[in-house]
Amino acid sequence: MSYVVAAYAITVVTLAVYGAHLQRELRRLRDGRER
C-alpha cells in the first residue's frame, strides 16, 4: 500500500509544484511587462 501511496503522492506533488512554478513565472513576467 505504501508503494502505491508513494507513486501517487510523488506524481501529484511534482505536477502541482511544477504548475505553481509556471504560474508564478507567468505572473512575474506579466507584472514586469505592465511596469
Binding site: 508503494y3 502505491v4 507513486a7 510523488i10 506524481t11 511534482t14 505536477l15 504548475g19 513576467l29 511587462r33
Partner: protein, 228 residues
C-alpha cells in the same frame, strides 16, 4: 487565429475540465478492484502508463513544433517545441519514478536493464540533452534550427520505446503493451480516467509553459531595445 490566441482561450476551460476529471479519477482509483495476482500495488497501473503517454506526446510536440518551424520559420513553433520537451521531460521523469516503485513491489528490485527500461532511459537522456543544450546556447534562428532537427531525429526513439518488447520477441520483464480486453473487470474506467486526467494536465502545463516562453522572448526583445 494564431497559436498564441488559441492558447490563451483554451486554458481556463482546460483548467476546469482538469479539476472535474481529477475528482472523478481519484474516486475511480480508490474504488477500483484489487488485482487478485499483484494485490493493491497494481493500482500504479492507473498512473504509470498515462505518464508514459504524456511523455511520448510531449516529445511528439517537440518534433512537430520543430518540423513546422523548419517549414514556416515562425518562432512560435520553436517555443511550442520547447514547451513540449519540458513538460515531456517532467512526465518522463515521473514515469521513471513510478515504474521502479511498481517494479520493487512486483519484481523485488527497483531497476532492470531490460529493453523497455533501457530505451526509456535513453529517451529521457535525449530530450534532457535537448533542454540542456538549448539552455547553454544563445536563442536565435541557428539554435532553433539545430534544436528542430535534433527533436525530429530524437522522436524515432518513441516508436522504438513502444514496440521494443515486440522487437525483442517479448523477452522482457516489462509487461506487454495493453490491448483491448487485457484489463480485468472494473479496471477499464479508472484507467480511462487516468489517461483523460493526465492528458488534460499535460495540455494545461504545455499551455502555461508556452506562454512563459512567449513572454520571456518578448521581454528579451524589449530589453534589447527592439519592439516586441
Amino acid at each position: 487565429m494564431g497559436i498564441e490566441a488559441v492558447n490563451e482561450r483554451v486554458r481556463r476551460p482546460l483548467g476546469w475540465a482538469l479539476l472535474v476529471s481529477s475528482v472523478v479519477y481519484a474516486w475511480a482509483v480508490v474504488v477500483a478492484p484489487i488485482d487478485s495476482v499483484q494485490g493493491v500495488i497494481q493500482k500504479i497501473l492507473y498512473v504509470h502508463p498515462p505518464l508514459a503517454y504524456g511523455a511520448y506526446l510531449g516529445f511528439v510536440f517537440t518534433a512537430v513544433g520543430g518540423g513546422i518551424y523548419l517549414w514556416r520559420e515562425r518562432e512560435e513553433w520553436d517555443r511550442f517545441a520547447v514547451a513540449g520537451a519540458e513538460v515531456g521531460i517532467v512526465f518522463c521523469t515521473l514515469m521513471m519514478v513510478t515504474g521502479p516503485i511498481w517494479a520493487r513491489g512486483t519484481w523485488g528490485r527497483w531497476w532492470s536493464w531490460d529493453p523497455r527500461l533501457t530505451v526509456t532511459m535513453l529517451l529521457w537522456f535525449v530530450y534532457l540533452a535537448y533542454l540542456v543544450l538549448r539552455s547553454f546556447t544563445d536563442p536565435g534562428p541557428r539554435t532553433a534550427r539545430f534544436a528542430a532537427v535534433y527533436g525530429i531525429v530524437g522522436i524515432l526513439l518513441v516508436p522504438l520505446n513502444y514496440y521494443v518488447i515486440e522487437i525483442f520477441d517479448k523477452r522482457s520483464m516489462h509487461p506487454e503493451n495493453l490491448e483491448r480486453g487485457s484489463l480485468g473487470a472494473g479496471m477499464g474506467f479508472p484507467f480511462l480516467m487516468g489517461n483523460v486526467t493526465f492528458f488534460l494536465a499535460f495540455l494545461y502545463l504545455v499551455s502555461l509553459r508556452f506562454e512563459v516562453e512567449t513572454r520571456r522572448a518578448r521581454a528579451a526583445l524589449a530589453a534589447a531595445g527592439e519592439v516586441p
